[in-house]
Structure formats: C-alpha cells, structure tokens
C-alpha cells in the first residue's frame, strides 16, 4: 500500500503562551511533532507492517519543520517531503488543504492518507476533512479504531467517534483517515531510526513544484491575538477539623453561591 501521513510542527504542549508583537509566542519552549500526529504516524506504520508498502510523511511549514519530519522518519516512515514556500506562510485551512491535496496528487497512487485529529496550535480540526474533499475521497474523521482494511478489495471499515457513540463506517479506498488518541499507543523512535533520520535528505517542494500557481489568497485573517485574562482568583480554603466538616463547609458555600 502507498501510505501518506500528514504532520505538523507545533510548540510543545507544556509551553506557556504569550502575545509578543501581536502574535503568539512560546518563548524558548521546544517545537515538536504535533502530539495528535504521533498517533497518525503510528497508525500509518502499523498499516504498512500489516499490509506492506511504504509510508511518506508530509508536512507544510517553515524550513524548521524538517525536524518534525525527522521524528516521523525516526519512528519508521520511509521518506519525508516538506512543502515550504513564503507564499504559504499565512495559510488558513482552505489554503493549507489546497497545498496538501496538490502535493498528495504528485505522489503515485496513494491508497490512504492519515491525519491527526487536530494540531495543538490552531485547534481547527478541519484540515484532514478538507484535504479529503479536495481529493474527492471519503473523509473518515475522528477515527478511534480501524476494524477492517482490505487492500485487495480497496475497502476500509472504521469506528468514528460521535458525541452519541461510535459510528461504524465502511468506505472505499483511497480515503483520508483522521485519528484520535484511542486508536493506538505511538512508539518511540528507535536508535537506528534516529541515526537514519539524522542523515536523511528531505526534499522541499515549493508552491510551484506542486502546481499551486498563482497561490490563492487565504480566506481568513487574524487581526488580533489576545492573552485571555482570568481575574486573579484568591482561593477560599474551606476549613474543618475532619473531612466531614470540610465537606459540609464546602457544600454550604456552594449552596450560598447558588453553584449547585
């Protein structure tokens, strides 16, 4: 099978975010492979291990995003491609999905494209489905389990997470599958993998390389980034000699404040 996994580089989730010069700043916190994408990479690798083929990791971002692609390689992906172009720097999901779909079309006959549920920076959760729509493939979103995958018949059956439960869906391939954390436990990169990744040459595709010329204007702009202010809370500690007294005191306060 020809498997593609799309990943993004994001600030570490432990980063403290502030606004500097009107844009988000994560200070000197490290940039990492988006945590959701680790599950997508893992699922891509498991799919290859079960059915053969190759895994291509693909990212859209600045040159520095090569580091996240190297992590995907270190986990076991066969090759990586970075789409990077100054004209794509302020891409919204509409433009990002156009670039990713255009790049995927340059790859010879992919059977399946994996995404993580969301990127922990922009939190949109829409890029995977939009890539599917652009490719004209089914979008299998919020997938918590793959119950069947038949490369010969080119079909896949998945469990999608809805608020009300899991929806079981059978779809033809190729398809775009966006995964949630429940689907697997991502592996750590192996020592050999890290060594191989450190030497890997990652090709960079520009907007014109993927045929996105002229680059469309993004639909969305972000006039202002704001650090939310939460009024300084001074915590009222309830007192009591015993847990029962503490509990009773808390219940009284919650009732007084009409919180329950």
């Amino acid at each position: 099978m020809k498997i593609v996994v799309c990943v993004k580089q994001t600030p570490d989730t432990a980063a403290t975010l502030t606004v500097v010069g009107g844009v988000a700043s994560w200070g000197d916190a490290p940039l990492v492979l988006n945590p959701w994408d680790e599950y997508a990479v893992e699922q891509a690798l498991r799919t290859k291990e079960a059915h053969g083929g190759s895994v291509t990791a693909m990212s859209l971002g600045p040159q520095a995003a090569k580091e996240s692609l190297k992590q995907a390689l270190a986990m076991g992906c066969d090759e990586a491609i970075l789409i990077s172009d100054p004209a794509l720097e302020r891409a919204d999901s509409l433009l990002a999905s156009a670039a990713l779909a255009a790049a995927i079309k340059r790859i010879d006959a992919p059977d399946i494209v994996f995404f993580g549920k969301a990127a922990v920076d922009t939190d949109t959760e829409v890029t995977g489905p939009q890539v599917a729509r652009r490719l004209g493939w089914p979008s299998l979103n919020l997938v918590a389990a793959i119950s069947e995958l038949d490369p010969a018949a080119k079909t896949i059956t998945v469990e999608r997470l809805l608020e009300e439960g899991r929806q079981l869906v059978r779809s033809p391939l190729p398809a775009v599958v966006s995964v949630v954390k429940e689907i697997n436990e991502p592996r750590y990169p192996s020592f050999m993998g890290i060594r191989k990744a450190s030497k890997a040459e990652i090709p960079i595709w520009s907007a014109s390389d993927i045929g996105l010329q002229p680059v469309p204007e993004p639909a969305l702009t972000w006039p202002e980034v704001i650090a939310p202010v939460r009024a300084e809370q001074s915590c009222e500690f309830v007192s009591g000699e015993t847990p029962q007294q503490q509990a009773a005191a808390l219940v009284e306060r919650l009732i007084e404040e009409k919180l329950i």
């Binding site: 059978r170 639909a219 702009t221 808390l250 306060r253 009732i255």
Partner: protein
Amino acid sequence: MLLVYIDHFGGKPPVAAWEALGAGSLFVTGSDLKAVVMGSGVEALAGEAIAHGAHSVLLADDDRLKEFRPEVYADGLSQIIRQSGADIVLFPTTSRARELAALVAVDLDTGITPDAIQLVRQNGAIVATRPIYAGKLLTTEVNLARRPQLLTVRGRSFPAPDSDPTRSGEIARIELGLAQPRTEVLGYKQSGGGVSLSDAAIIVSGGRGVANNPALHPPPELTNEKEQEIWRAREGFKLVGELAGVLGAAVGASRAAVDAGYIPYAHQVGQTGKVVSPDLYIACGISGAIQHLAGMRTAKTIVAINKDADAPIFKLARFGVVGDLHQILPALTSALRQRLGK
C-alpha cells in the same frame, strides 16, 4: 441572509444546535432567521426549530440523509447554501457539524472559522473570537472578502433560546440532487453513556491522586504493582463517579490519569483531550499541569480538592479543600445527598 444548520443525531438535536440558533438571532433584524434541517423523517425537528425561534426552515427530508455521511450531507448543504444566497452560515461545534462545515467550505471556496466563542459584526463581516493553543490564547478571525462566512459556535458560549410551541413559521421543502453515497454506515456502538463532557454544566474530574490510597488493599491475585495501582485508581474513580452522580455531572480526568490507564481517553480534559467550560468544575487529585488548565480554565467556578496546598490548581480555584480526596469525596457525596435530598 443568515442560515443556521441544525445538527442532530437521528432527529435528536444537542443543546448546542439551539445555542447556534441563539447566536444567529443576534445578527438578524425582522423575521430573517432561517434554519436548515437535513435528515430523513425530520419534519418534527423543523417544527422544533421554529419553536426555538427560527422564522423559517429549509427542510431537506430525504432517505439518502438517514445516516450522517459527511460527504452526502456536504453535497446537499452546499446546494442549499448556493440556492439560498446566504452570506453567513452558523453551525454548532459538534463533531458532525464541524466536519460538515469544513467540507462545505471547500465546495464554496470560502473560509471556515470553527469553535467561535464570541461574534461581532464589523463593516459587514462577522469577526469571531476563538481559542487557540487549547485556550491558552484567543484570536480574532475574520473572512473579509469571501462569502458565505462559515462559522461553528462553541457549546455553552451562547444562550439557547427557550422553546415556545406557539411560534409559527414557514417550512419550505427542498429537493436535493444527491450522488450515490460511497460510504456505508454499518451501525453504532454506544460508548459509555453518561453525561457528555462538552454539554455538562458540572464536571467532576480525577487525576493521578485517585490512585493514591494506601489504605486500600488490592485483591491478592493482583501481584503486579501496575495492576494494583490501576485497581486502586479505579476504586478512586468510583468515588469521583458517585459525587458526579449526585450532582448530575460528567466525569472528567487529567491526561496523567488517562495515560496511566486509570480511565478511558473519552474522559480526558485538556490540551489533547476535551476543552470544556462548565459552570462548575471540581478537580480531585489533579495538581494542575498547564495542559490540563488549558482545557478547563474557562469553567465559571473551579473547586479543587488536593493534598498539596501548593498545587497549581488552587491558583485557578475559587474554593479549595486541602485533604485526602479518598476521605473528602465520600463525605462530600453524603453531605450533598442530605442537602439536596437525594
């Protein structure tokens, strides 16, 4: 013209669907609040939309819409939006509607703003405020040049209008040209049940601390330390669940608790779990890692129960109890039972 897409599951709408209608009512003058209802056998839902304040409903009632298949719904909704000439379309932020809005945005070559918590009209465009980095920051976002503007509104950010069955309005049936669906819905599996985190007015959450009750003695057949720890944690989560039961609350958990295998991922609150904003959030044995705080900081009132008086969670908390949750929670549950008469 403004359209509100009414999300539902088998004809049953989540509260968030009416909240989206409430958000839409802020931007219409006169009787121009239009709702879209799609599905099979959903005429009653169109009536409910009128009762909740829609002035008219575009109803696509079609066998092929019986199951929610995003590609089929997107084909239909894109047609409806084109025909209606709507320049703003609002959706609730549910897993279905968010994906649907994303697909429709591609069809209509326009922007999609998911998860708006505030909407303001400025110079003919809706400027949305939405959380990024799991709410550690907010951004304003606007689609200046393209129409329609597509936005999903986060649950519990806009008031749901009251239902008034005496309201009346026009229900216009729409025939859609739909291609043969390529995906097949084989069925559904119920997951857990209970109160959904996103809709919950009260959430009781447990962290690492729930496993920390040395007074409990695991059954002798559990010899492995990890198994004993998980057994202790599950006993601890029973206490969390009992408190949640008395309050009609949903059960949440920190990432640490989920990663340790104490409770399924569906309960995780935080940056790589669910971002929630209930009226009351009770954090039990949660120290308050930044990833967790990002997921619940917008709760109206936070109560923290923790052994460590210096735990960061107390900085966000309005009320704090310093103590052992294994003693505090049963006491709290029984005190509440008495006071609330349950």
